[in-house]
């Protein structure tokens, strides 16, 4: 349990630092942003208590917000992802798999993992950019931002997955 906790804390700090110090400065074509911290709630084990997933997601979102001067923005979107993750995961896990199945390419298979990550990322990006541009709504730009950011983040997540597997 405590090993699990420390691992999670480690990931938390690592993803936060990566996002705040490096990824926040990247903005491809004026729209695509790598939002790698969404990887954090995506990889919660099957069977993690829902309140735990929710609180972790919220705290991660808030930590990102505090550093990028957007209070509530990432917190609201990431809490939603934390809520949906456990429900969506059930649709993708193979039958009679372990209660505490890890969520990664090696356990789910590349196809299923990519679809799961892409769906969660897309939901996150749609909500995130909708909230961000609250008083300036250009729906085409909104879709472009959400779409390209989802793709960019997905590529990053798959890169990390391939490193973790080896």
């Amino acid at each position: 349990m405590s090993v699990e906790l420390f691992k999670r804390l480690g990931w938390f700090v690592l993803l936060w630092v990566a996002q705040v110090l490096f990824l926040n400065h990247i903005h491809l074509f004026g729209m695509a942003m790598p939002l790698l911290y969404v990887y954090f709630p995506i990889t919660f084990h099957r069977g993690t208590p829902k309140w735990e997933t929710l609180l972790w997601s919220f705290v991660m979102g808030l930590a990102i917000d505090v550093a990028s001067n957007t209070p509530g923005l990432a917190a609201a979107s990431l809490t939603l992802v934390g809520m949906l993750q456990s429900y969506l995961l059930e649709l993708f896990v193979p039958r009679d798999s372990a209660e505490n199945l890890e969520v990664s390419v090696s356990t789910l298979g590349t196809g299923k993992f990519v679809v799961l990550a892409a769906v969660l990322l897309l939901i996150f990006c749609l909500v995130f950019f909708a909230l961000e541009s609250f008083n300036f709504f250009d729906w085409l730009y909104w879709l472009e931002c959400a779409g390209t950011s989802t793709l960019l983040t997905l590529v990053l997540i798959l890169a990390i997955e391939s490193v973790r597997r080896t």
Partner: protein
């Protein structure tokens, strides 16, 4: 009752979800108002420290470029001062005036040097964090400038860090500025696109000016003293309502490599604000 408890047991995570979303929503909407705490921004000490360490490292690598730019700027200004002094002396035959004027200017403003510890260009509403806060004398609504020109206005103040609204903030930045030597004034806005181009709106239709002329702060607001450089006029447009000109300005400040800035603290502001309020009050009295 039992049913209710069972229901709560099964679905309490939904309740938690709603609570967390409401908290996020409150944060999201409260941040738009002006009186929020500096805690939930990069003006708080922990995040400020992280940014400071990062900027310490990156500053080291970009030092030579910043240095080069400052040297050039310094050279240019020195030449300008010399030229002006010569012109002034020719005109008045007074050799001590320069020293007197300089002392007078310095006694009015206090400059607090600060370092930029976090900065962004890519968002529509960018913010800058600097490493000086209320314990160094920084207050909300003070102007911030760098060697090359205007930077922005202090928005939130923590003990040791502050958040600045730069010119590159679409929804909140409105700095009063004027065309140099012409006196026509307007306010500076940004459209969220090119970080080296901003716009001056509300220049009257009867104004005379040329492309390539300089824009500087007007000194009409209580934030900046007059004469802080903003940029050069690049293009002229009609405003949307056709009643005024909108100028496209090439900013003299390079926000991409902003490191050293200074906060301008003006001791006469309090007095001016008080006077303004007194004037408003008396107008209200007469109005009734």
């Amino acid at each position: 009752m039992r049913n209710l408890l069972d229901f709560l047991k099964d679905y309490y995570h939904w309740l938690l979800f709603i609570v967390l979303e409401v908290v996020s929503g409150v944060l999201l909407f409260r941040y738009n108002s002006y009186q929020n705490s500096a805690w939930l921004s990069s003006a708080n000490a922990a995040v400020g420290k992280v940014y400071e360490m990062e900027s310490g490292i990156t500053t080291f690598f970009s030092m030579s470029r910043a240095n080069e730019e400052l040297t050039l700027r310094n050279f240019y200004l020195e030449r300008q001062v010399n030229q002006l002094r010569r012109l002034y002396m020719d005109a008045t035959q007074d050799t001590t005036v320069k020293m007197r004027q300089e002392l007078h200017l310095l006694s009015k403003y206090r400059l607090i040097p600060a370092k930029v510890v976090s900065n962004s260009l890519s968002q529509p509403d960018n913010l800058i964090t600097i490493d000086k806060g209320s314990s160094d004398g920084v207050e909300v609504d003070m102007g911030v400038a760098c060697g090359n020109g205007v930077v922005g206005v202090v928005y939130l103040v923590g003990d040791h860090y502050s958040v600045v609204i730069p010119v590159l903030n679409r929804s909140m930045s409105r700095i009063s500025c004027a065309i140099r030597n012409r006196g026509y004034f307007g306010y500076l806005t940004w459209d969220g696109r090119d970080p080296s181009v901003a716009f001056v709106e509300d220049i009257p239709r009867h104004a005379h000016f040329k492309r390539g002329e300089w824009i500087e702060t007007s000194g009409y607001s209580t934030i900046f003293p007059p004469g802080v450089l903003v940029g050069k006029i690049e293009k002229v447009f009609n405003s949307a309502d056709g009643l005024s000109y909108k100028l496209q300005v090439r900013l003299s400040t390079d926000f991409g490599c902003l490191r050293d800035v200074c906060v301008i603290s003006d001791k006469s502001i309090a007095e001016r604000v008080k006077l303004m309020e007194a004037a408003r009050d008396s107008m209200n009295v007469y109005g009734k």
